[in-house]
């Protein structure tokens, strides 16, 4: 193993050298000679994005707690650094010891969103690791994928050696133990893959064969060896109070997206919105106790000195011990002069009072997510928010001294029609009106309502996984229609690029055939697609054309009897539940949340411990 020398020449030429050179507080330094396993953990986007990701902090901590393992970080270099690296012939290296990634035993890549796939290929190519799993030799690292996109790993099936389904805290250790055993046994690369295929939650794509019907849909998918299970079951942590949580976060020198310490309040979501993948794949809801959270918070303030502490969950208001937790946290943060950040709060009397206590003076902006404009549409997506709720919340916020609110919506939802879109502007009007109707609002500053409108992307493992996705043209038409509906100058309208959304949808529900499109797009220079200045729809369209693959095959509606590429993954939530939810959506019928009434989604069976789990309350 060798760490690269003379990197100073590169660092001195690029804009953000601290993104590559390491040495941050709490980064782990070990002597590589002292460990048996070297694990490079990659986030396939830039440092400021990757360093904000909680999952990486958790796994970095867990791997480095092992004496036999050294986990280091690597990110996608920005354009200037990549140019310098390619010109100087410097391969992709880790931040900690500047060791080429190719020399590691594992390269673990977290897959947080589809638009990072081109970065995965670019990073492999920069590392000098063969892009295809089948072309890797005995000296190459095992390339491992995880994260939400791994739930439909098929577009990347030929690129990754294996995937980890679900929460990684336990399974990552099992993979390391299996590696040690395999080294002692002296087997081949294939032997290791067969060995870990037997571990619950591990998917080795090369051990499965897929055949297709004439129309391009899947005819069958089956294991080609006895070690590989027919169904791969996702892993979960049953008791979050017992799982290891980092007592230290790396503190970057430069500003990152979420530059703060974070405590994880719970996993999963009781709500069951029908478009939301996170709400399904992280089921069931499991909470940490307030005591554990306060302990986590204390340790992080002490070790990082961060001036801000965030609560992380899909919906903070649904935490059952929220009053107790915030009382204890506020006592702590006030003493330490740390500010508390509370994202994902539902606006009601309790939370406004809380925000008052947390923010003291600054009343920046409040965010609401009605997601759809008409009541019918909100029932379709099972977003159990009524117009009355929203107006009540907005009035409370305005009366509390907030003058600007932001509203999140989606267009292109299944079963949507133009009146539903018009409903978005009507709702925004009513929010502006409620400011003037109340005599308790601060009229000296006019209200501002910002609409942030995203395009719906159907995702695997949601009740809308069978739905058609609107074309780029239809989405653009709908965006323009809404734009023309908004006449009030107190309403601002922001929307996302529809071409990115469609591409995201194609890969989200893609199959193995898309692997060659990814390879071609990489050849054409696609990378950093999450960045407006880098994304090029033309290049992607060319990649699809060159491969003779039609995007529309992937945006179309599917029948219930079609075999979906991700059907081999068992997330606990059953197919019957998803179908039932989709049928209810068609009739605009809502489903109660997990605390109101159990709908028997199937996730309860995953939990071995009943403590803290919503299914056993």
């Amino acid at each position: 193993m060798s760490s690269l020398q003379n990197l100073d020449k590169l660092f001195s030429k690029v804009q953000k050298a601290t993104h590559y050179c390491g040495g941050e507080l709490n980064s782990v330094i070990k002597n590589p000679e002292d460990v048996k396993i070297r694990y490079a953990f990659a986030f396939p986007d830039t440092y400021e994005v990757g360093m904000s990701h909680l999952g990486m902090k958790i796994l970095y901590h867990i791997l480095n707690k092992r004496e036999d393992t050294y986990c280091e970080r690597v990110f996608a270099p920005w354009i200037d650094m990549e140019e310098e690296m390619r010109e100087a012939g410097v391969p992709l290296f880790t931040n900690e010891t500047h060791t080429p990634v190719k020399e590691f035993d594992f390269l673990g890549i977290t897959l947080q969103y589809e638009m990072c796939y081109s970065n995965v290929l670019n990073m492999l190519s920069l590392a000098g690791i063969p892009l295809l799993s089948s072309e890797r030799g005995e000296d190459d690292p095992f390339v491992n994928g995880g994260g939400p996109c791994a739930y439909n790993p098929e577009p990347l099936a030929e690129i990754f050696d294996f995937f980890t389904m679900g929460e990684g805290e336990d399974v990552i250790g099992e993979l390391m133990d299996a590696f040690n055993e395999w080294k002692e046994e002296g087997g081949t690369r294939k032997d290791y893959l067969k060995k870990i295929a037997k571990i619950e939650g591990i998917y080795v794509p090369s051990l499965y064969d897929v055949s297709y019907n004439e129309d391009g849909t899947i005819k069958s998918m089956a294991p080609n060896c006895p070690e590989a299970p027919v169904k791969v079951k996702k892993r979960i942590i049953s008791d979050l109070d017992k799982v290891t949580y980092p007592d230290k976060f790396i503190v970057p020198f430069s500003d990152i997206v979420h530059d703060r310490s974070n405590i994880e309040v719970f996993r999963g979501c009781i709500r069951g919105c029908r478009f939301c993948q996170a709400g399904m794949i992280y089921r069931p809801v499991r909470e940490k106790s307030a005591d554990t959270l306060v302990k986590d918070a204390c340790a992080l303030i002490e070790s990082t000195g961060y001036e801000e502490m965030g609560l992380s969950s899909l919906s903070t208001s649904d935490y059952t011990q929220l009053p107790e937790l915030t009382d204890k946290l506020l006592a702590l943060t006030e003493k330490e002069k740390v500010s508390l950040s509370l994202p994902s709060l539902r606006v009601d009397n309790f939370s406004l009072d809380l925000m008052e206590r947390v923010q003291k003076v600054r009343k920046s902006g409040l965010t609401f997510a009605p997601e759809a404009g008409s009541q019918r549409m909100r029932d379709v997506i099972n977003k159990n928010v009524s117009e009355e709720d929203l107006i009540k919340s907005a009035t409370l916020a305005f009366e509390g001294g907030w003058n600007s609110v932001k509203l999140y919506f989606m267009i292109g939802l299944p079963y949507e029609d133009y009146p539903d879109i018009k409903g978005i502007s009507e709702l925004a009007e009513k929010v502006v009106e409620c400011f003037y109707k109340s005599d308790k609002t601060n009229k000296r500053r006019p209200p501002s309502v910002t609409l942030s409108v995203a395009s719906f992307v159907p995702k695997p493992f949601t009740p809308f996984q069978w739905a058609a996705q609107d074309s780029i043209e239809t989405l653009s038409e709908k965006q323009l229609f809404l734009k023309n509906e908004i006449r009030n100058r107190k309403i601002r309208y922001n929307y996302h690029q529809s071409d990115v959304s469609v591409l995201e949808g194609v890969f989200a529900r893609g199959d193995r055939k898309l692997g060659k499109v990814l390879l071609r797009a990489h050849e054409l220079g696609c990378k950093l697609d999450g960045w407006n200045e880098c994304f090029s729809l033309e290049k992607w369209e060319q990649a699809f054309n060159d491969c003779g693959i039609d995007m529309e095959f992937y945006t179309r509606a599917r029948d219930y009897d079609e075999i979906l590429p991700w059907d081999f993954v068992d997330i606990g939530v059953t197919r019957e539940f998803m179908i039932n939810e989709n049928e209810k959506a068609k009739q605009a019928l809502t489903t109660p949340n997990c605390r109101e009434k159990c709908s028997g989604c199937g996730a309860a069976k995953l939990c071995k411990e009943k403590k803290g789990c919503v299914c056993f309350e």
């Binding site: 100073d8 020449k9 660092f11 001195s12 050298a17 601290t18 050179c21 040495g23 941050e24 507080l25 503190v251 020198f253 430069s254 500003d255 303030i301 002490e302 070790s303 990082t304 000195g305 961060y306 001036e307 330490e336 002069k337 740390v338 003076v361 600054r362």
Partner: protein, 209 residues
């Protein structure tokens, strides 16, 4: 009443790419980790009372950086040094702590060490020039500036060039600009890539600050 102290610290290779503003924030967090009773400013957005002498360019190392702090309690200088050094990232080290305020407002001159790939054979002719004109980019376009008055002295030894230059808010000359001028005016000279190190800071009378 707040207690004032000033600290002399070094910034070495490990952290030389950290920008001045990022360094300021790093110290704020280090203070919290060290549990030092730092005084905060008044107002809506209280921030710790910290003062820095002269921002160091990205890529430079230094052994003469100064940080002023105000504490709400009186602590021994040894205690402050120990608590700080325990929590600072590798590459930053407090070298000494002193009571009271520093003379950093009087800062006028800095001594730099430059380590080029190649040193020039002689420097006398360069220093004998009446004017050393360099092109400087300003908002209104490229302007020619004479840097000679801001060069107090240059000494060349084996593998190293020492420069005493104007520094601070009145006139500030960076050693990399001098190197660029040397490459331009000393016939046949090419410094190659250089490392820059700030060695000492002085007031106008060359008293160490």
């Amino acid at each position: 009443m707040n207690n004032n102290y000033y600290l002399r610290y070094e910034k070495t290779e490990n952290v030389k790419y950290v920008s001045h503003l990022d360094f300021v924030r790093m110290f704020g967090r280090a203070l919290r980790r060290a549990h030092l009773p730092i005084a905060y400013s008044e107002g809506f957005n209280p921030h710790p009372l910290l003062g820095f002498a002269l921002p160091l360019s990205v890529g430079y190392t230094s052994e003469c950086e100064i940080l002023e702090i105000a504490l709400t309690e009186e602590l021994s200088t040894e205690e402050i040094m120990q608590r700080f050094n325990r929590v600072l990232p590798d590459g930053v080290k407090i070298l000494s702590v002193h009571e009271g305020k520093s003379n950093m407002k009087k800062l006028d001159i800095a001594l730099y060490q430059v380590f080029p790939e190649k040193t020039p054979a002689g420097i006398l002719e360069f220093l004998a020039m009446d004017k050393i004109l360099i092109e400087k980019k300003t908002k209104s376009g490229i302007k020619e500036t004479d840097i000679r008055p801001d060069i107090k002295g240059i000494k060349v030894t084996l593998g190293k060039i020492e420069m005493t230059l104007s520094a601070g808010s009145r006139n500030n000359l960076k050693p990399e600009v001098v190197i660029a001028a040397m490459n331009k005016y000393i016939a046949g000279y090419n410094s190659g890539d250089c490392r820059y190190h700030r060695k000492q800071i002085f007031d106008l009378e060359m008293n160490v600050i």
